[in-house]
Symmetry: C2
Subunit: 461 residues, 2 copies
């Protein structure tokens, strides 16, 4: 029945129900998942609208999916339902060079947009490490960040308007127009629970005249953290300010020979971009601060090749840990920048206590930690230890005045932790907004909101 | 009954019902208004909550009011109701210097915040020309801009979280936390129709090391407009990029002797701020572009006194037109920067056709026009001509791909124009969100949404 109706609306080529096809959509980058009832690959907004109406008739929940790189299970089905893959809606629909904006489909790969507009001297700024494969639609769903969000802002700062299909299959648009309510921000980061984005106007930025990348090595994490705070306190906002500990630099160097020192407790990867004179002026200022905070080496990448190698190493750091353990779990929490030293100590203690190897590679300028917990999925004890460590890290971030997600959303994994950062009243307000757009809770129903909520307004129906 | 209950809850000192008191709250900076049933001056969130509950019981609508500087009638009552004045909730509640943020009450005057944190080397960036008197709460209600929003963004970019009292009198909080829905943006710019902001966490920025201000004079508006586009196309984003026509520069010079040339068709006021070297480098780049586009004079303000005089003149431009006519009406529309010459021609034609004197002083870098239409309120024909001119300017902005508000909201004045920029489906979505927070439509009920809407979801109940 479901399959027949989907095939009738979209053609058999766009509907997958064979077990081997469904299995491919059972997981994202989180450890848990489930098989969908069907996977559909729409080619247009009209297709999406038709799918939603069929799902409604058949009582099937819907999970929208980009590249499946999300860390929190936001894109996985849990008990049947329809997965909408946007693999075929991956084009740039409009390119408005003069006003520096583009209208794109949700399945467009993040880096593909920057590549497409590079010859115009433009780029799309949000750059999650997954940008080689993750999609703009998925980035919108989680309000994705990336190293350069320190100065350019996260996805929300680059979305100008959305076309959305709601849970009734109706299409509407939001824009960041001053006239009327700004609902765009409510949809960005809502992980497919309020509606399905079928196209987005995004902001493009001018490629900077000059880019410089520097690497500073420190003998301890505290000194590196203090250098980070001092750089920003001095009024300098580099385009990126990343930290890696020795576990990560060694893994990266072993895998990629990117050019990082492997004998330092902490390494800062610092980038600045802009006009040549400005970037040059910032180099000496940043260098002085780094040395004053104990940097024992300083290196300036001289060529584009050196810069690219350093960035490729940074963005592939998670993959590089494959040499240490067969699996890794990435936690994603934020703390105020000034609490970084305490947060990193707490991460180390939690990992040690649970017998887990941890590597830290993260957006230091934003206070956004990404502890990589290394383990073997085949060992149940290790799985339990990793989950416990992740949980302790969440609590430590909250205790330090931070929050439970920096850029990867809440999804399935962290929904019960929402009660630790929001009051029931605040969650109930969010749930009331959800009910406006999805009164039947058919859009990604098991996500974001806590499962065990006592408040009837928050709990699933 | 209403008065008795309000006095019982807040004390007689906080409740005004004498005709001479009510008259003071009948108008804002728009031409239309009406008398409230009562004016209350709460001192706390608890007071606001009590007022809302009493209003609900008594079936009275509520209009929240800051300083009453809004241009579109957003803060005026129309048919009775309670005006909540935030004059007594005007304090900085928390100052978090290290993380550069402050929690403030809605009645705090915009400039008072910057003055309070200046000794820490910080400031609050959004700077509407009304900043000497307008309040942070009113700025949030309209998502206020200002000259420096070109580089710093509008109010929404500086609000980190809100405490809100909803139409049931319940209190909740929003934050721009990545976890959960970002509802802050929906409240910023909602003009008191979704809830009443009782406190706000706002971002503070570091005062720049160096500030420079330049004045470039042009023989025609087109050349000045093209210079504006060229500066930004070159990848330079000055902190402010304002234009004034000769009507305005002459009025300003007659009133304030601010230092503007009075013989040029168009004058650009350009500011850049940052590190000394960067600002110096930008001066020569901007100067070169201005000259290439026909600037016939260029002046650099050498002292802080000269800079302040130029800015004071710019920010008092509307008042200066009092020498030309007893009243002025400010229109507020946006067009793509590339359409500025056409937009200004259309403004001139509309004014000429209706026999109205117009002066242009506006945020050129943002494409945000502010034609000042000068008239005598005592002459009914002139009032009608001004309204017609304003209306034609709205339509011209829409025709050029722009929109009906830049930074002053929709309020009462522009609500019927909403149907010209939004489809019924898009307006219905906004109305559904409104119904979540204010199902009885008791919060500023006659604002934003069109009066004559045919769609039952959009029309008032």
């Amino acid at each position: 029945m479901l399959r027949d109706r989907l095939v009738e609306a979209l053609g058999s080529d766009a509907v997958k129900t064979a077990p081997e096809d469904l299995a491919v959509y059972a997981f994202d980058a989180y450890t848990d998942g489930g098989l969908p009832s069907a996977v559909v690959l729409p080619s247009s907004t009209r297709d999406v609208s038709a799918i939603v109406k069929i799902a409604r008739d058949c009582g099937e929940p819907i999970v929208a999916r980009g590249a499946g790189t999300g860390l929190c299970g936001g894109a996985v089905p849990l008990a049947g339902g329809i997965v909408i893959s946007f693999a075929r809606m991956n084009r740039v629909l409009d390119l408005d060079e003069r006003n520096r904006r583009a209208r794109v489909q949700p399945g467009l790969i993040n880096l593909a947009l920057s590549r497409e507009v590079a010859n115009l001297g433009l780029f799309y700024a949000p750059d999650p490490s997954s940008q080689l494969i993750s999609t703009i639609g998925g980035n919108i769903a989680t309000n994705a960040g990336g190293p350069h969000c320190l100065s350019y802002g996260t996805t929300i700062n680059h979305v100008l308007g959305l076309e959305i299909v709601d849970a009734a299959g109706d299409v509407f648009e939001t824009s960041i127009d001053v006239a009327g309510y700004d609902l765009t921000a409510a949809f960005v980061g809502s992980e497919g629970t309020l509606g399905i984005v079928t196209s987005a106007w995004v902001r493009l930025m001018a490629l900077p005249e000059s880019v410089r990348v520097w690497v500073a090595a420190f003998d301890d994490i505290d000194s590196a953290s203090e250098a980070v705070s001092a750089i920003i306190a001095a009024g300098i906002l580099p385009t990126a300010l990343e930290m890696m500990d020795v576990v990560i630099t060694r893994a990266v160097e072993a895998a990629f020979h990117a050019g990082y020192p492997t004998d330092a407790a902490a390494v800062l990867l610092i980038e600045n971009a802009g006009f040549d004179e400005d970037v040059e002026a910032s180099e000496s200022a940043i260098h002085t601060i780094a040395v004053a905070h104990g940097a024992r080496s300083w290196r300036s990448a001289r060529t584009k090749g050196e810069r690219d190698a350093l960035w490729a190493g940074r963005k592939s750091a998670a993959g590089a840990t494959g040499r240490i353990a067969p699996n890794y779990y990435t936690q994603d929490v934020c703390v105020p920048r000034s609490r970084l030293p305490q947060a990193l100590r707490a991460v180390g203690e939690a990992a040690h206590e649970n017998g887990i190897t941890v590597g830290n590679v993260f957006h230091a300028g934003d206070g956004n930690l990404h502890p990589l917990l290394m383990y073997d999925k085949r060992d149940r004890k290790q799985v339990a230890a990793v989950i416990e460590t992740g949980n302790q890290i969440l609590q430590c971030a909250i205790d330090l005045g931070g929050t439970i997600s920096g850029e990867h959303g809440i999804g399935w994994e962290k929904r019960d932790a929402m009660t630790r950062v929001y009051s029931t009243a605040d969650l109930a307000v969010m749930a009331r907004v959800r009910d406006v757009f999805d009164p039947m809770r058919m859009l990604n129903p098991e996500k974001i909101f806590p499962a065990g909520a006592r408040c009837p307004e928050v709990a699933p129906p």
